[in-house]
Symmetry: none
Subunit: 408 residues, 2 copies
């Protein structure tokens, strides 16, 4: 609803918006000091920004709901993740950190399995999990498949992504690979592999590719004692959403060192800028491409990594690393600078959490709280209160004077 | 949704509610002092009220969405403006500050145009904008039309409201003027004017009136060189909404010096009390009619006017003018006194903005923040948080003990 209205009010201009996402930003107090990671870190630049910004905390999905990174970023970009339907295959591929391409990638979840008649595409299935091999064995099997398959199957690239135990993911890349394929997994042991068939004319090509892959794959695995079969489920392409640029009247560029975040940005139609290896390289790209876009999504991973590891001091250091880079971003003079996170990852929790994420919006029309600080509690009394993540882009557009008035 | 429930809980009583709207109330810090208009003004009475009230900030429509005055007031009265559909003609009339009457007014947007055969109702259209006359010329043409048409056309009053360049608005006033008329604008030059026809039996009278108006109007304009035609589009009456009094079990009176605000109050079925010329006269009416109603909407314009002009000191003065009048309102002893705005109009912006508007509700059941002040930041930590404008009337009813408990 909000976005249909917002869209009708969009009034594009050249003002530039930088959305700096510190992954897993929010934290919780250290049991010994009572201070959170953000409160412990020395953040002179971010604290100064907080005192000049509209501040608050952002509820990423729903109260109490801990977001995964993919849904969290969708929400940040204004797409409610409940309304974007991911097939299981696409979800697994993204979850493995694979940078799925819209339109040309078709993904399936897969199991290694044990067949009664190795090498035969209609063999009975003896063990749907191939005796649950270890992760290392799974990697070896995936590696073997990749190498022997060679560069192409029926003109398509095939990516084999190892997972936990017997689980892996297969991604087919090529033009015309529509979804609409059944699983070949009979679900019950003792039953035969199910032939893959196209649900309609548009998925005939995909069926041909997948069947060719299964035939060659089973030949390659035929000499394995247990993991000589493959079950494929949940064939799916990336969901199609209204492009971000069209929706908000922006020209957007995404800068992220981790493939997964480039993937979500690509999913909503942002242009992905390079493949930087770290934050320093990200900032170099931001500077280089400054003239070419009016919206930049910049992703910083270090805060989340430290949170997952439970390394409080590491998270403090990561925050300080970002703080030191703030003047370089300010020097570019964006009209709107937003610093927030995609979710909280408190060190004492070692996992994502549902706590609202600190957020600041710096612009000439900000309503700052002079007592604010860049922290969970330092932003509790601010212009933005607690607000849903899907409201962030409309707010950014307003601060950048890119939204017309509603009604006379 | 909230209102269906609220309505089922309404329990009328004689407690009186005053809703004092300071138009364009919210502001932003002055670049030199860092203080907003509200923070700069000396507001002893409003600050005292703030310390005795449930306080917070009101989001008028959606985050980032800047409301026009009409939609803002609808929201304040509990009608979500996205759900009240205005025809283009009615919108234009209200936008011109015209006090449209429900049920008996029919409005159309109009262009002056140049015809091939002046004076003929089926002439070809040569120039749909009559060479874009200046605003003064538009006023002259409207004046000429008004004067020559005389008092009535087919028993209806006709109002001709000048706009920018070739644009104007026509309002027909009389019983039985249903909408359901086509435009006479052929949209393309070189095509003939389209005859106005009734879409059904209920609009036959309207068609007769409008056709008579067109015939006489074209005769009057026939001696003009360029602006000798009229194109009418978007015939519409005011939208019909559930009456405010019925919805909330109130007997409501509206007091406003500006016609537009009387218009919106009338649209929702409030009784409009007089046509005061200024705030002083408004307050006199409030006192005079105190016994006759249990809900008063009182509108103060000065804050918005100063905001639009960017005159910081003027806005401060306007706020102080209201502050001085607060004891007189308190002396009437309303059970509930609400002071808020319809939107923010920061002086540094010279326009409406999307920032939440400060709001206080004084009642025996208020939960005050003793540290509050009557300002944007002085109400950030309060009982009401940030709340949608459409929740204001249900809150007012609750504070006035006019809502029953839900469930046992």
């Amino acid at each position: 609803m909000i976005h249909e209205k917002t869209q009708s009010l969009v009034h594009p201009n050249d003002n530039k918006i930088v959305l700096l996402i510190l992954d897993g930003l929010g934290g919780l107090p250290h049991p010994l000091t009572g201070k959170t990671e953000m409160e412990t870190a020395k953040l002179p630049h971010l604290d100064r920004l907080a005192r000049l910004s509209s501040g608050g905390r952002m509820q990423v999905i729903d109260p109490g709901v801990t977001p995964g990174s993919g849904p969290a970023h969708l929400a940040l970009f204004g797409y409610h993740p409940y309304h974007v339907e991911f097939g299981r295959g696409a979800l697994e591929a993204l979850g493995s950190g694979f940078d799925m391409e819209p339109r040309i990638d078709l993904a399936a979840r897969a199991n290694f399995a044990t067949l009664e008649s190795p090498g035969h595409v209609s063999s009975l299935v003896k063990d749907r999990r191939a005796g649950r091999p270890g992760d290392a064995e799974c990697r070896r099997l995936c590696e073997k498949l990749s190498q022997r398959l060679g560069k192409e199957v029926e003109g398509c690239q095939v990516f084999i992504l190892p997972g936990k135990e017997h689980r892996f993911t297969v991604v087919f890349r090529g033009a015309g690979l529509a979804a609409g394929l059944n699983d070949n997994d009979p679900q019950r042991e003792g039953n035969p592999l199910i032939p893959i068939e196209a649900a309609g004319a548009s998925s005939k090509h995909a069926a041909r590719v997948v069947n060719a892959f299964l035939k060659r794959g089973l030949e390659i695995l035929a000499d394995e004692k247990t993991a000589n079969g493959m079950l494929l489920r949940g064939f799916s392409a990336l969901p199609q959403v209204q492009p971000f640029n069209e929706r908000y009247g922006l020209k957007s560029g995404a800068i992220a060192a981790y493939p997964m975040y480039r993937g979500v940005a690509k999913l909503v139609g942002m242009e992905v800028l390079g493949a930087p290896k770290n934050f320093e390289e990200e900032l170099a790209i931001l500077k280089d491409r400054w003239r070419d876009f009016n919206f930049f999504f910049v992703h910083f991973k270090g805060t989340d990594t430290a949170g997952h590891s439970g390394l409080f001091d590491e998270k403090v250091k990561a925050l300080q690393e970002v703080d030191a880079a703030i003047p370089a971003i300010e020097a570019l003079e964006p009209e709107v600078l937003i610093v927030t996170g995609d979710h909280s990852t408190p060190c004492i929790h070692k996992e994502h959490s549902w706590h609202p994420v600190p957020a600041i919006i710096r612009s000439p029309l900000a309503l700052p709280n002079p007592a604010a600080a860049f922290s969970e509690r330092g932003l509790m009394a601010g212009d933005l209160g607690i607000f849903p993540a899907t409201h962030l882009i409309p707010l950014a557009l307003a601060h950048a004077s890119k939204l017309d008035k509603f009604g006379a």
